[in-house]
């Protein structure tokens, strides 16, 4: 399926909005206004490309904490994200219980996840099992960093999905670092996709800096899954352009030259150039979009600042399902 | 060896007492158990009987002085016998073998053998300690059957069972002290006098006689201080709310007309107080929450209905003796206990455990003509019922104006424990009981 021009521009807009929002989070942190941020800068192409390959509201997303652009693509608003950055009561993901970037959007089938890595992977297989038991044709997209594919949980999840031919796409966002540990210390194979062959399912590699390429690769896997042909592992390789989190200093484990080199492969720049080459975007239009993104982020921060904090005692519930007001 | 007389510790929380009057002078002879000195503590006024026969050798604490419990008040011995010097005496106070002066407990003669405050009671478990406090048990009187003679919970429960049996026996004895009409002006006096008075023309209230010159400071008696503390404590502790209803006393009046002579023949003075107490019992049974105490752990609803009744003392102040398990007494039984406790309250002969353990209190503020009042709760209880003067008043009955003996009942309750609705339910039951008294 070829993407329409309108969809391509929309995808670029989502990437740009996520980037400006992510950058603002760093600024807010350096201003001392927020306590923590974990960044997805450099991973927008893989995230947005993947989401546009699934059916929002029908298919399922089991993300991890670097998926800001993915969540924006799924419909999370910048102000919703800022609420979680600031720990404000209206945070829709967790009522400000979780740290920022621990996403959840039940109405969009985006499942809540935690911080210990790879714990989400078996959930994706379980959802896939449920879909298969019901004879449905929905699919599950789940993401993970390359470091976390070292966890037994990921192998077990992929193995189960492979054994039962479940409609699950295991997207590995290989940004080449797990905090400070580079890929070669995580695995002896060249790509996390190579791990798939030992588990009996296809493993696909894709350039994670190019949004439309990622879209095509994921779409193929999604269609296979929807047709009952089982799960796929896809590794989208890109580079983490920022330190691991606001608490990290990457100068201690990688050179500035290395980072600068990868900045030339910034997926935002690559997508912009692609659209301009195709005649779908002009510099003027880009400037307008960029300004619009900054304005939206300004609005979001303003809304976040004005929003109330939760009350201390709001922390008391809900612990059990029966404490939740379903009205 | 002379015998010492000490200031007794009359109750758990009592730490001091005031010598109000010496009944013997130095050099006078005295028999063992003969009243020797009157003392006043914040719980009771009482006479201390002599701890030995002999001559009152030396009075150490003069009248009006307040001393700690355990302080030597006097020495009794042979004429001319020398008295140990004070330092020596003080040391001796702490010797366990010394027999302390104890108030005689005539109903429990066997208690004397076991008593002795310094007896080692062994390990006292939390529940035993709690039961002892709640039921006012002197643990030295309880035989321990647990490990190493420890007093177990079962031992205390058995002891309480026995004590209950004994009390019943005492109650059933025909020997009842004859009620004496108390002096006029008492706060708590037989309501019949009040009632009779209301039929006459209202007398002008007696002239208020000032006790002191303007500007003079009256010394605080320990009772005055204790009343002040209790009142302030109560008001600070519980949110007080007072609700008032009135009751037509016609049927009570009629019942009493018939029953009083019969009761009198059995030596019982049937007062209106007894009727009020009986009506309170009915109300408390209907609304057990009114017979309760607020605690941080929760509202403790008392099983026993122990009714306190405020009695004004001739010397000023007041005291609240308690009728234990009022729900187990008949009207006559209540009247008999009212007679006895009021009498002994006024003559300062109440025992410490007779002013403890109340779960609800009745106060009659109507004696001087008060219609209704806002009584202060006797902590840790949750309710106090005030009865006003019983007065003939015109009331509307079946759309006609009738003259009926009426009384206002003022019920003050702890709003932490009771709400308006439950409090009014209780009070309505009291009114209903009074207004529908079965005819004799």
């Amino acid at each position: 399926m070829t993407l329409s021009n309108a969809l391509k521009k929309e995808m670029f807009w989502v990437m740009l909005l996520a980037r400006r929002l992510d950058e603002r989070a760093w600024v807010l942190h350096r201003q001392g206004k927020i306590a923590f941020h974990i960044s997805g800068i450099g991973q927008e192409a893989a995230q947005v490309g993947a989401v546009y390959a699934i059916k929002k509201g029908k298919d399922w997303l089991v993300p991890y904490y670097r998926d800001l652009a993915m969540l924006i693509a799924m419909g999370m608003t910048p102000s919703e994200f800022v609420m979680s950055l600031l720990g404000k009561a209206p945070d829709p993901t967790s009522g400000a219980r979780q740290m920022p970037s621990h996403f959840s959007m039940r109405h969009a089938n985006v499942v809540s996840h935690s911080a210990p890595v790879a714990t989400q992977s078996p959930h994706a297989s379980g959802i896939g099992l449920g879909i298969k038991m019901d004879g449905g044709d929905a699919v599950v997209l789940t993401t993970i960093g390359e470091g976390a594919t070292s966890q037994g949980e990921w192998y077990e999840a992929v193995n189960f999905a492979a054994v039962h031919k479940l409609p699950v796409i295991f997207l590995v966002e290989n940004n080449q670092y797990a905090i400070s540990v580079p890929q070669e210390k995580q695995m002896a194979v060249n790509s996390a996709a190579d791990k798939a062959c030992g588990l009996g399912l296809p493993g696909i590699k894709v350039d994670g800096t190019r949004v439309f390429e990622v879209y095509e690769a994921i779409l193929e896997a999604v269609e296979k899954a929807r047709n009952g042909e089982g799960a796929t592992v896809i590794e989208a390789k890109m580079y983490r352009l920022t330190p691991h989190s606001s608490d990290d200093d990457d100068r201690s484990y990688r050179t500035r030259e290395e980072v600068e080199k990868h900045k030339k492969q910034d997926p935002i720049i690559l997508a912009k150039e692609a659209l301009i080459d195709e005649g779908l975007l002009t510099e003027e239009e880009y400037e307008e979009l960029d300004q619009k993104a900054k304005d939206e982020v300004d609005e979001a921060v303003k809304a976040g600042n004005e929003a109330p904090y939760p009350k201390g005692e709001d922390a008391a519930t809900p612990v059990y399902a029966e404490e939740v007001n379903h009205g | 060896m002379p015998t010492k007389v000490i200031m007794p510790k009359l109750g758990e929380s009592v730490v001091e007492g005031t010598v109000t009057a010496w009944l013997k002078e130095e050099g006078e002879t005295i028999e063992e158990y003969e009243p020797l000195v009157e003392i006043n503590t914040d719980k009771v006024d009482t006479e201390i009987p002599s701890s030995a026969s002999g001559t009152l050798l030396k009075i150490l604490v003069p009248e009006g002085e307040t001393v700690e419990a355990g302080t030597i008040l006097a020495w009794i011995g042979e004429p001319g016998e020398s008295i140990p010097d004070e330092d020596q005496a003080r040391e001796k106070e702490h010797e366990p073998q010394e027999e302390p002066v104890e108030e005689p407990a005539p109903e429990q003669p066997e208690a004397k053998q076991d008593s002795g405050r310094d007896k080692d009671l062994g390990y006292i478990s939390p529940v035993v300690s709690r039961l002892a406090q709640e039921e006012d048990v002197d643990l030295s009187k309880v035989k321990g059957t647990g490990m190493d003679g420890r007093i177990t919970k079962k031992d205390v429960l058995n002891y309480l069972e026995e004590r209950k049996e004994e009390k019943k026996e005492v109650e059933e004895e025909p020997e009842i002290p004859i009620w004496e009409t108390p002096a006029d002006g008492d706060l708590f006096r037989p309501t019949e006098l009040v009632f009779a008075q209301s039929e006459k023309e209202q007398e002008a209230p007696p002239e208020h006689k000032p006790l002191a010159e303007p500007g003079e400071t009256l010394p605080l008696t320990s009772m005055r201080k204790r009343i002040a503390e209790h009142m302030v404590h109560s008001k600070q502790t519980a949110p007080h709310v007072t609700t008032v209803m009135e009751a037509d006393m016609s049927r009570v009046f009629a019942h009493r007309q018939v029953s009083q002579p019969k009761a009198e023949a059995r030596g019982v003075h049937l007062t209106y107080t007894a009727y009020f107490l009986s009506a309170i019992v009915t109300g408390l049974k209907a609304v057990p929450l009114a017979n309760a105490s607020w605690t941080d752990e929760g509202i403790r609803v008392h099983k026993a209905i122990n009714l306190g009744m405020a009695v004004a003392l001739p010397s000023g102040g007041l005291i609240v003796p308690v009728i234990e398990r009022a729900d187990e007494s008949s009207l006559t039984g209540l009247a008999r206990q009212v007679n006895d406790l009021a009498e002994r309250a006024r003559s300062g002969q109440l025992k410490p455990d007779e002013v403890q353990g109340g779960t609800f209190t009745l106060t009659n503020h109507g004696t001087k003509g008060s219609l209704f009042a806002t009584p202060v709760i006797n902590q840790p209880q949750s309710g106090i019922l005030g009865t006003g003067i019983i007065q003939k008043r015109p009331v509307v009955v079946n759309d006609a104006i009738a003259i009926r003996p009426m009384v206002y009942l003022s019920f003050t309750f702890d709003h932490r424990v009771l709400d308006g609705a439950s409090a009014d339910t209780f009070l309505a039951h009291v009114v209903h009981a009074l207004e529908n008294w079965p005819l004799a």
Binding site: G95, G126, G128, A321, E322 | -
Partner: protein
């Protein structure tokens, strides 16, 4: 009423719940064709097929992690861990994921699932087929922890657990699987609510609090000492979390003496929580120190019979502890 054993009661509960709700399914090791190593799922595979009676890979994390995902999707998984001793690979999924899901999503997501695991020693199972693991999980808000002691309760509680919208840890005293028999209604549907403890024997002198196999033993010990004139009240806790404090404290108010029995080792064991509950809210009712009778603080139950017997709490040891406490 028919007399059946504990494991049959559990099998019946699963059968009835699978019949009632097609979202209910079973996943675990050897639960399918084999019918479970303890035969708890016998017949289910034939009746409901391999899609609803799933022989999982030999991986406990998978059983629970996949179960959580299925529950998020809307299924009602019953996850069987073959022996409670094997549950630790799934600990992260249970404690970090299942237990925290409602809280961390502010009530948006639920994990309605049951994790069944046979526990306990005295069966010659050695270190890794004998463990009691309840204390680990009874520490975790978000989980419910249930341990039945008899067929009637097991069936009613398991049915409630399957219908519960939360993750329920359901630990089964495996020594009692065939040893403990009891009457269970044949044609009458019933459930037993998760939460309430049960006074299974009324008595005045002291209270024994126990669950699972130890509750069974406590009743036996109570009968033994009754002949000596000691009148024991026995309380079956049934649900460890959330615990029924009211019933515990009511019993202590009555008897003023408490003995807590479990076969898990003493230190950090579940009995400490009951003892603390009594000390905190029942102190003024106590006539003796609260006593715990538990397994010794060694890593696990040894294999060789004499050492196993040394480890295990049994009716005689309980009777002795009762006598000591009664004499206090």
């Amino acid at each position: 009423m028919a007399e059946i054993n504990l494991v049959e009661a559990i099998r019946q509960a699963m059968d009835e719940e699978m019949e009632r709700d097609e979202n209910v399914f079973v996943i675990g090791e050897d639960v399918g064709v084999r019918g479970g190593v303890f035969r708890a799922t016998v017949g289910l595979f034939d009746k409901y097929g391999e899609e609803r009676v799933i022989d999982s890979p030999l991986a406990e994390l998978t059983i629970v992690g996949v179960g959580i995902g299925a529950a998020l999707y809307g299924k009602r998984p019953i996850c069987e861990i073959q022996f409670a001793d094997f549950i630790y690979p799934a600990f992260n999924q249970i404690v970090s994921e299942a237990a925290k899901m409602v809280y961390r999503s502010d009530g948006a997501w639920f994990v309605p699932m049951v994790i069944r695991a046979p526990y306990g020693g005295g069966i010659g199972g050695g270190l890794y087929h004998s463990q009691s693991v309840e204390a680990f999980f009874a520490h975790v808000p978000g989980l419910k922890v249930v341990i039945p002691s008899n067929p009637y309760d097991a069936k009613g509680l398991l049915k409630s657990a399957v219908r519960d919208p939360n993750p329920v840890m359901f630990f089964e005293p495996k020594k009692g699987y065939r040893l403990i028999k009891g009457e269970v209604p044949e044609d009458e549907e019933y459930t037993i609510p998760i939460g309430p403890a049960k006074v299974t024997r009324e008595g005045r002198d002291l209270s024994v609090f126990a669950y699972g196999m130890m509750h069974h033993y406590a009743l036996q010990a109570a009968e033994t000492v009754a002949e000596e004139g000691i009148d024991v009240e026995v309380v079956d806790l049934r649900t460890l979390y959330p615990v029924d404090r009211e019933t515990i404290l009511e019993s202590v108010r009555k008897t003023s003496k408490a003995l807590i029995v479990h076969e898990d080792n003493l230190t950090g064991g579940y009995g400490g929580e009951i003892a603390a509950t009594i000390a905190e809210w029942g102190f003024m009712d106590l006539d003796a120190p609260v006593r715990r009778l538990a397994g010794p603080d060694v890593p696990a139950v040894p294999f060789s019979h004499p050492m196993q017997e040394w480890f295990m709490v049994n009716p005689d040891k309980i009777a002795d502890a009762i006598r000591d406490l009664a004499a206090f």
